[in-house]
């Protein structure tokens, strides 16, 4: 999986490509931990994300909880398969999906 990050005064956009699973989720958590400072709007672009496992969901959940305290977070360009996983796991209830 690759993470492309783009920061624009308070707005951080992360573009995820590939598979977000047990082996790659720690990378995402690490990236997030380093870049939370001063971020008020966090955007995940999941257009090229092929698969998300429970470990990946956990990383998104952590991000959502952190952003609840310091701003807002949304997930954009969610593909059909990822959307199905969000629906099954109920993540549609807590994430802002556009």
């Amino acid at each position: 999986m690759t993470i492309k990050s783009k920061k624009d005064t308070g707005k951080l956009t992360l573009t995820l490509t590939g598979r977000l699973d047990t082996s790659t989720a720690p990378n995402l958590e690490e990236t997030l931990k380093e870049s939370y400072d001063g971020v008020t709007e966090l955007v995940f672009d999941l257009e090229k994300l092929e698969y998300i496992s429970s470990a990946g969901l956990r990383a998104l959940l952590s991000a959502q909880k952190t952003m609840n305290k310091q701003g807002s977070m949304k997930v954009i360009n969610v593909g059909e398969e990822i959307m199905e996983i969000f629906e099954i796991t109920g993540f549609t209830e807590i994430l802002t999906i556009e």
């Binding site: 496992s53 429970s54 959940l61």
Partner: protein
């Protein structure tokens, strides 16, 4: 302290004997000293050849110059004593006049006193210089040669002489020298100095030649070369001896010690009694090597110690994990049939963790005589953290269920409990249902778990797209809705975790729910155990050699028809 160690070590004959035997074992084919000396000898030979050649040339040059100098001096002396104006008279004298004889006598004296071999005066044939006519000819009294008589005519020896005669006659030079010291001539090596005898008009009338033998020079030169060779050979022997001793002392002895120590260490694997850097006290690269080997030995021993500790630690962890696997397995109901005296339903379940312990779990138990609680759950992540979280979740869910709550109440309460102490943001997806056995009425709630699969009597398995709540433990204050399904006798319910639907082959293809449903329908009228085995073998065929990535957990419930 180091000094002391040195002395002690040298005073140990036992140690030395042991070393000798090892040295024999590792004896090199060619000693490095021999190679080194061979190099130096080759260098010395090349050097002595160069010195000999340079010496030979310089020596020859210097001696020739000296000989030529002497010959010319003699020639000039002869010219001074010679009465040039009378040259034509001498030529016409026939060698018998008194004047001629007196001139010949004084020339003879000069020849003997100057040590020349010949002094002679000639007139060459001026048309082509191929013949010469002798006017005067004297010979040293110690020489074996015989003199040429007046007027004797002979061929010019070679073209070299002809050319020089010509140059002297045509006034191109005032003196010429011919050197004949090569091996091809029949006479002894000699030089001939030539000066022109000029008449009053300045024209060359005759040529005066002084010839000197050089046999003495060749002798001296050979002696000189011999001396050089002798010195060189002596030097070589000296170098060989000195170099052997020197190399043995500063090089071979310490290197041998290092070799022996390395060999000892590879066999014994412990630190030496005396440090190598104390035994080898060179202040050069060999000393550095000795120190490095000391350090290396210390580090290897430390590394081996560490490795032993780590291996022991790993074994301990592995033992504990084995135990944990057993504990986890024993937490899940695993004796089938679980309720042998209940004929109304049949149930079968299995859990295969990807690692030693897993985060998936299933559970089923009778809340009371008429109510069977079924749980299928999946903790985020894998391994020990997931297993710990799974244990807590299972107990919490079972406790709330046994309090007689409805599925939505159980999930809501469990979420509240788990969220209150979940710092790591772990969560668990749960499908929980309570079956009223007498009526077949199934009340269920889904907290972010996979869709259950239902089979109506004599029908096919189909996904049941139920309402989903959020995962448990993710966010506090979540509420869960419940729904009911009326299961007719003969119905089946299949529950699973994403390890089934997301089993992955080596090309990252997912098994998927469609393949899963197809596997279920292979023999939908089979017993729960057969159905689970079908799904399992279908997954195995699909993933082939790919490593099992996620925990694989399944449960199948069959509500039996009443007459059976």
């Amino acid at each position: 302290m180091n000094e002391l160690n040195n002395i002690t070590a040298e005073g140990k004959p036992v140690e030395a004997n042991k070393n000798t035997t090892e040295r024999k074992k590792n004896k090199p084919k060619v000693s490095i000293i021999f190679k080194s000396i061979l190099g130096i000898v080759a260098l010395l030979i090349v050097f002595s050849i160069i010195v000999s050649i340079i010496g030979f040339r310089n020596f020859t040059g210097a001696l020739l110059e000296q000989y030529a100098d002497g010959a010319f001096r003699t020639a000039n002396t002869a010219i001074m004593e010679f009465d040039v104006s009378k040259i034509e008279d001498y030529a016409a004298s026939g060698g018998t006049t008194k004047e001629y004889l007196s001139a010949l006598e004084s020339m003879e004296l000069l020849c003997n006193s100057s040590g020349s071999t010949f002094i002679y005066v000639i007139r060459p044939d001026r048309s082509d210089y191929k013949h010469i006519t002798f006017l005067f000819s004297t010979i040293n009294k110690n020489s074996d040669y015989t003199r040429y008589e007046f007027g004797f005519v002979r061929d010019t020896t070679n073209e070299d002489y002809m050319e020089k005669y010509r140059r002297l006659y045509e006034g191109e030079s005032d003196q010429e020298l011919v050197i004949r010291d090569k091996g091809y001539i029949e006479t002894d090596p000699h030089i001939t100095a030539m000066v022109p005898i000029k008449d009053a008009g300045g024209k060359t009338a005759a040529i005066l030649c002084v010839q000197r033998q050089m046999d003495n020079m060749v002798h001296v030169r050979n002696t000189y070369i011999g001396k050089i060779l002798f010195v060189m050979i002596a030097l070589m022997i000296l170098v060989i001896i000195v170099q052997s001793i020197y190399l043995h002392h500063v090089f071979l002895r310490p290197v041998t010690k290092i070799t022996e120590e390395a060999s000892r260490f590879s066999h014994e694997n412990d630190l030496p009694e005396q440090k190598l850097s104390d035994a080898v006290r060179n202040n050069d690269e060999i000393g550095v090597l000795a120190c490095s080997i000391d350090h290396m030995e210390e580090r290897i021993i430390k590394y081996v110690d560490d490795l032993t500790k780590v291996t022991a630690e790993k074994e301990r962890i592995s033992t504990e994990l084995n135990l944990a696997t057993k504990i986890q397995a024993s937490m899940l109901p695993s004796i089938f049939p679980p309720f042998p005296n209940r004929t109304e339903f049949d149930i079968y379940a299995s859990m295969d963790p990807a690692k030693e312990v897993g985060g998936d779990f299933y559970d089923f138990f009778l809340v009371d005589d008429d109510h069977l609680c079924l749980v299928m759950a999946d903790v985020s992540g894998k391994g020990v953290p997931a297993a710990l979280f799974m244990m807590a979740s299972k107990i919490i869910l079972a406790n709330y269920a046994k309090m007689g709550k409805s599925p939505s109440e159980i999930l809501t309460a469990a979420n509240a409990t788990i969220c209150s102490s979940n710092r790591e943001d772990m969560f668990v997806t749960v499908w929980l249902g309570i079956l009223e056995i007498s009526t077949g009425r199934l009340t269920a709630a889904n907290a972010g778990h996979e869709y259950p699969v239902l089979m109506k009597p004599d029908g096919k398995f189909e996904l049941y797209k139920d309402k989903h709540g959020f995962v448990i433990g993710g966010m506090a204050g979540m509420k869960y809705k419940e729904y009911t399904i009326d299961m007719k006798p003969g119905s089946k319910l299949f529950l699973y975790t994403d390890g089934v639907s997301e089993a992955t082959d080596s090309e990252n293809q997912l098994f998927g729910t469609e393949r899963m449903i197809a596997a279920l329908n292979q023999k939908s009228d089979g017993s729960p155990q057969e159905i689970l085995q079908n799904v399992r073998s279908s997954i195995d065929t699909f993933v082939k050699n790919a490593e099992q990535f996620d925990d694989l957990t399944m449960l199948c419930l069959e509500l039996k028809e009443k007459d059976k």
